[in-house]
Amino acid sequence: MLTTIESRDAVTLIQIQEERLDAHNSSDLKGQMLTLFEEGKNNMVVDLQGVRFVDSSGLGALVSGFKNASARNGNLKLCGLQPQVESMFELTRLHRVFEIFPDSTQALDSFQE
């Protein structure tokens, strides 16, 4: 799972550099997020700009990250959802669980408020 990980103030930005987020690589993403939690990084933005396809295990990895962040009094927010990816969140009603932003700037800024 190719990702770019950057810190901006107290927020970590994870950009996913894979076209597909599926049962083949979702556990790797979960692992990368766990490492960040263990380093005390409890506020995250996951940028899905480059992702064209997500399956239920990809959604599961994001839910796992969200629960971990919440349990540590942090938050995990999403941005950059392509239309087909967005429709997956609607289908599974997960768009009501996550805070979702158009782009990473807006998602990062939202932590300042």
């Binding site: 597909r20 599926d22 049962a23 083949h24 396809f53 399956d55 239920s56 295990s57 959604l59 599961g60 990895a61 839910v63 796992s64 969200f66 629960k67 087909q84 997956m88 289908l91 599974t92 009603r93 009501r96 669980v97």
Partner: protein, 140 residues
């Protein structure tokens, strides 16, 4: 009648091949010129249900069968797309699976729900020492 297509596919029982099969399903859907709906959306959905069904089949393969091929068929006939994904596991109670709760934060349990939502008919039954998940999409 003329738009009749049959693909019979055997690949290694590994998640690394989800993409290849998903893409094949996607292209198959994109080539269905007589489909009156949104072909790009259909293509995404076929990619997705194939991925979900194969991921389940791979995950639940009995250890003794792990080195055997994963078997998938796709058939277009009489304006209907039928996908069959065969597994070699212990099976599960397909009809009594709980629906995921809208506000549920479970990490698992959305695959079959997605398949049932996107396809017109889905069944699961014993077949030849394993099982077959059969998914149908009406194309008109």
């Amino acid at each position: 009648m003329s738009e009749s297509i049959f693909l019979d596919i055997k690949i290694p029982n590994e998640t690394g091949y989800l993409r290849l099969l998903g893409k094949i399903g996607e292209y198959l859907a994109q080539s269905l010129e007589s489909y009156p709906g949104d072909r790009e959306e259909l293509a995404y959905h076929i990619n997705l249900v194939l991925t979900e069904a194969m991921a389940n089949a791979i995950q639940h393969t009995a250890d003794a069968k792990r080195s055997e091929a994963l078997h998938v068929t796709l058939r277009v006939e009489n304006r209907k797309l039928t996908i069959k994904v065969y597994d070699q596991g212990q099976g599960f109670d397909f009809s009594n699976l709980p629906e995921p709760h809208p506000s549920c934060l479970a990490e698992h349990g959305r695959g079959i729900f997605i398949i049932k939502t996107l396809m017109d008919r889905v069944s699961y039954r014993k077949y030849d020492g394993g099982h077959v998940l059969e998914m149908e999409k009406v194309l008109f």
